[in-house]
């Protein structure tokens, strides 16, 4: 009895403390993630110190705005649908079918996501250009067929979907594996067809993962600047993110106010997406088993080989081919020379690796930034996800939205918000973060935190709280509970989130291009600078090195995981 009373008392005291902590945390999150955005948004409501909606009325009355909206809707809807479809198909095949080499397949699927979109776009346009491989292949055909015109809405949707479907895949595949196969059996035993099983059982249960990944893909499609800029400008297609950029760089008298107005609209669309995701998931049932089920559920039989072949053909096309075309142009002496023996050189690599010390500085900075961002996001983001998963109250839900804000804005806008916030957080006081690598750190953490939160959250909702309670009941201390029970169960999901954070931070470009200063150049910036100065051979060589390095890291992670899996099986 005494023990119980004691416990109740402590429970009360602890509850107080925890509430306090939660509120302090909320405040910190609010200041870091929301205040900068609010400061920027306020610009859209004030004209010469007067509260006004005139920017909104003005923008909505321009016919061009509606064309831009139309383009944005088509682009985002198209790219998100395609990304969802591709992600779901791959996730289903990897989770349920008996295709071989799944681990390797999983690795390959990630490649288009880890190749920075500015590199991916460049290689696709080269590939599809009138003197690229595809064109020369098509010329061999007896009838005339043109390669896909990349500078078009189709090109934009295609490239966006390719770079973002891995997000959908990542979030869905784990969820699929946790759907109890008994449910599918039951449905099939009652006479449902395969399609019915998918529609009535698998799909509703997979919805949380699909919606989570779909949301990130949606937001990523919405705020992406690089792809619609590169492919849309020649085609005269303007979408919200490029329109905001045009406003900002146009430096008209109300440039920032108009850019802020468009950003508010963009953020509203992103918020709508978040609500849609909640609404979908609210209806979803959560009847998952604790353990991932890696055994194939469907035998493809005679179809297996053709399915495998087409999967691999597709993956090779979207990964190896762009990389190869990049490799090719990084090896010729000068951009535009034909790829033949007398034009081959390793000079560009030598220059990047040994002759330009700023490149090394940039690699160092990016690694430092990415590792630091990953570490902080790993702890804070997992903590937030834990709160959100175990106590889905209003406060924690609000925190989730807050954290998503900076990711939903175009990089350029976030960078401006960062300047407004951090140059003089309180008028007259400059903390001196701005102009150092510190501002990039803050910007990256705020921008990419949501990737970790979503990754960890998806992992959390799949671990039944009963596991945790059981551990506690058996007297496991907090550290032990985390170390022995939660960490092993959550690790794969949490790590894939951390991995995303690391990779996106490593090659980030748009935010950095406005916030860096000498001494804090990053990989993306160096590539961008080479490109702008017309040294595209250097930029492709550098991109090649980065992609190779990332692939090496992925392969070693794959090996590590292999070893770890074996050890877990041994236990």
């Amino acid at each position: 009895m005494g023990v119980q009373l004691d416990g109740a008392h402590q429970r009360f005291a602890f509850f107080q403390k925890r509430r306090l902590l939660a509120w302090v945390l909320a405040l910190v999150i609010f200041c870091l993630f929301v205040l900068p955005v609010i400061r920027l948004f306020l610009l859209s409501f004030f004209q010469e110190g007067q509260l006004t909606l005139s920017y909104y009325t003005q923008i909505f009355s321009e016919p061009r705005t509606w064309t831009i909206f139309g383009n944005t809707v088509v682009m985002v809807a198209g790219a998100t649908t395609l990304a969802l479809a591709l992600g779901l198909v791959f996730a289903w095949l990897v989770a349920y079918s008996d295709i071989r080499l799944k681990k390797l397949l999983q690795l390959m699927i990630l490649v288009p996501f880890i190749i920075p979109s500015y590199i991916l776009t460049l290689s696709w346009t080269q590939l599809m250009s009138s003197n690229g491989w595809v064109a020369s292949l098509l010329q061999l055909l007896p009838f005339s067929l043109e390669p896909l015109q990349m500078y078009s809405m189709e090109g934009i949707i295609f490239t966006l979907a390719l770079s973002h479907f891995p997000l959908v895949f990542l979030f869905t595949v784990g969820v699929l594996r946790k759907i109890p196969r008994e449910m599918e059996w039951a449905a099939r035993a009652s006479g449902a067809s395969s399609w019915h099983v998918f529609k009535q059982v698998t799909f509703p249960l997979a919805l949380p993962g699909l919606a989570g990944g779909g949301l990130l893909a949606f937001i990523a499609n919405l705020d992406n600047f690089g792809i619609p800029a590169f492919l849309g400008i020649p085609a005269q297609i303007t979408v919200l993110s490029t329109a905001i950029y045009q406003e900002v760089v146009g430096f008209g008298p109300s440039a920032f106010a108009r850019a802020a107005t468009l950003s508010v609209i963009l953020a509203a669309v992103a918020l709508l997406g978040t609500f849609a995701q909640w609404w979908l998931v609210r209806k979803a049932k959560q009847t998952e088993t604790i353990q991932q089920d890696h055994e194939p559920r469907y035998q493809l039989g005679r179809l297996r080989l053709p399915v495998e072949l087409s999967l691999w053909a597709f993956l090779l096309m979207i990964t190896v081919v762009p990389i190869a075309s990049m490799l090719q142009s990084s090896l010729v002496k000068a951009y535009g020379l034909p790829f033949s023996a007398d034009h081959l050189t390793l000079d560009h690599y030598r220059f990047i690796l040994f002759e330009n010390d700023r490149v090394q500085g940039a690699i160092g900075n990016s690694l430092l930034l990415a590792a630091g961002t990953m570490a902080i996001c790993l702890f804070v983001g997992t903590g937030l996800a834990y709160m959100r998963a175990r106590q889905p109250n209003a406060l924690n839900r609000a925190l989730e939205v807050f954290v998503g804000f900076p990711y939903a804005l175009p990089g350029m806008v976030l960078a401006l918000a960062m300047i407004f916030m951090w140059l003089e957080p309180i008028p007259g006081w400059n903390p001196g973060v701005y102009g150092t690598i510190g501002i990039l750190f803050i910007a990256y953490i705020t921008r990419f935190m949501v990737l970790q939160v979503r990754g960890s959250y998806t992992a959390m909702v799949q671990v039944d709280p009963s596991m945790e309670e059981a551990a506690s009941l058996f007297g496991a201390r907090p550290m032990a509970k985390w170390r022995r029970v939660l960490v092993p169960l959550l690790l794969p999901g949490v790590l894939s989130g951390a991995f995303l954070v690391f990779l996106t931070a490593l090659t980030e470009l748009t935010v950095s291009s406005l916030l860096w200063s000498s001494g804090s150049e990053t990989i993306g910036l160096m590539i961008f600078n080479f490109e702008q100065a017309g040294y595209s051979t250097h930029s492709t060589a550098f991109s090649m090195l980065i992609v190779t390095a990332i692939l090496l890291v992925m392969v070693s992670m794959y090996m590590l995981q292999h070893v770890r899996d074996r050890r877990i099986k041994d236990i």
């Binding site: 416990g7 402590q10 429970r11 602890f14 925890r18 902590l21 945390l25 061009r64 383009n71 250009s129 400008i233 020649p234 303007t238 045009q246 760089v249 146009g250 430096f251 008209g252 920032f256 002496k333 000068a334 951009y335 535009g336 020379l337 700023r358 570490a375 902080i376 702890f379 804070v380 709160m387 350029m412 401006l416 300047i419 407004f420 140059l423 003089e424 400059n430 903390p431 001196g432 973060v433 701005y434 102009g435 150092t436 510190g438 750190f441 506690s472 496991a476 907090p478 985390w482 291009s513 406005l514 200063s517 000498s518 600078n529 080479f530 702008q532 100065a533 017309g534 040294y535 595209s536």
Partner: protein, 358 residues
């Protein structure tokens, strides 16, 4: 007791929040130190006159990286006590950052070196610049110096007609060859909506009787491709995606020197020229060093340095780099700057309506 165990994730959170604050704090300290240094040196400089040029100098530029570095290295040979930090990006990004800094309360840049005079006219109008009558002005043609000494041109950069040497047999001589049938679908140029230099060109061409907006209309009818910046143009032409490009001279010269199948001409009707002016910001925290830097860029040595990286010097008495035309040989197409600034938004809109921006 059980509940206590839930503390751990929160402890982790707090820990990471603290470490987050911690890494910020370090930077703060650094910055405070360097700021303190700057203000100290400023004070001593004011006390001792102009001999003590020291402290930190913040240099915002749109010049390519390596060129900016070379310039700063040359400057620091003469003034080793000045610590120069560089921010390099596209002109548009640099100005955005500058205006955002202004909006946030304090401009951090001391010296600006950006693409064209119109951009500086804009900054001048916003009262962001400090007038400075450099002693080096004696050697700079008055055409390239703002009459209020707010900004001074540092080099001559012509927009030329580049062509792919594999695809084009005979070098073009006129801009109007671009509107002819055999150039159909073969021209690439940067977009005025994104590139300041391209906006300048559009302003100049459209105000010139020989060209006017009808020139752009014909280019549109001839299926001209528009890309984001000058780098993209060179890439398209060198890579053979387009035969012709309207592009800034030194980028082409660079690609040509590396061996890309690209060359360029100065068409006979003349070329728009931008001057990459330099200016000091109004509230520069290190005026002494900023002025020394401007003097250096305009000096014989600074101009020679620019020439070595491939720019046409603006200073009289220094020849243009091999293959480029110098100030005396260039046939410059120009327009009134105030008019260009005033008309820039309209120019962009006009361009959009011609090229059917959606």
């Amino acid at each position: 007791m059980i509940e206590k165990k839930r503390m751990v994730p929160f402890a982790l959170l707090v820990f990471s929040a603290v470490s987050l604050a911690g890494c910020g704090a370090e930077n703060v300290q650094e910055q405070v130190n360097s700021a303190a240094e700057t203000s100290e040196t400023n004070e001593t400089e004011q006390a001792e006159g102009t001999d003590a040029i020291a402290g930190t100098l913040s240099f915002y530029t749109s010049q390519p990286d390596a060129d900016a570095e070379a310039l700063v290295a040359g400057f620091r040979e003469q003034y080793p006590d000045v610590d120069v930090t560089i921010f390099r990006s596209g002109t548009e990004e640099v100005v955005s950052r500058l205006l955002a800094e202004e909006e946030a309360g304090s401009v951090q840049a001391d010296v600006l070196l950006l693409a064209d005079a119109v951009t500086f006219e804009n900054l001048k109008e916003k009262d962001l610049l400090l007038p400075y009558e450099s002693p080096e002005l004696a050697h700079i043609p008055a055409d390239f110096v703002d009459q209020d000494y707010m900004y001074i041109g540092t080099k001559l950069m012509a927009t030329v007609l580049a062509y792919n040497t594999d695809l084009v047999e005979e070098a073009p001589t006129s801009w109007f060859e671009l509107t002819a049938d055999n150039a159909k679908g073969e021209l690439t140029m940067p977009s005025p909506l994104y590139s300041g230099a391209a906006a300048y060109n559009a302003g100049v061409f459209s105000r010139n009787d020989d060209f006017g907006w009808s020139f752009y209309e014909k280019l549109y009818e001839n299926e001209t491709t528009v890309v984001q910046g000058n780098g993209g143009v060179v890439q398209a032409v060198a890579g053979g995606e387009a035969s012709y490009g309207m592009v800034v001279d030194f980028v082409v010269a660079n690609a040509k020197e590396q061996g890309s199948p690209i060359d360029f001409v100065y068409p006979e009707e003349g070329v728009p020229v931008i001057t990459e002016p330099i200016a000091i910001t109004k509230n520069s925290k290190n005026e002494g060093a900023a002025k020394a830097f401007v003097d250096f860029v305009l000096s014989e040595e600074g101009q020679q340095l620019g020439k070595d990286v491939g720019y046409t010097p603006i200073r009289e008495g220094i020849d243009a780099p091999a293959g480029l035309k110098g100030g005396d040989e260039l046939h410059v197409l120009s327009a009134d700057l105030a008019d260009l600034l005033e008309g820039r938004e309209e120019d962009k809109e006009q361009f959009q309506s011609i090229f059917g921006a959606h």
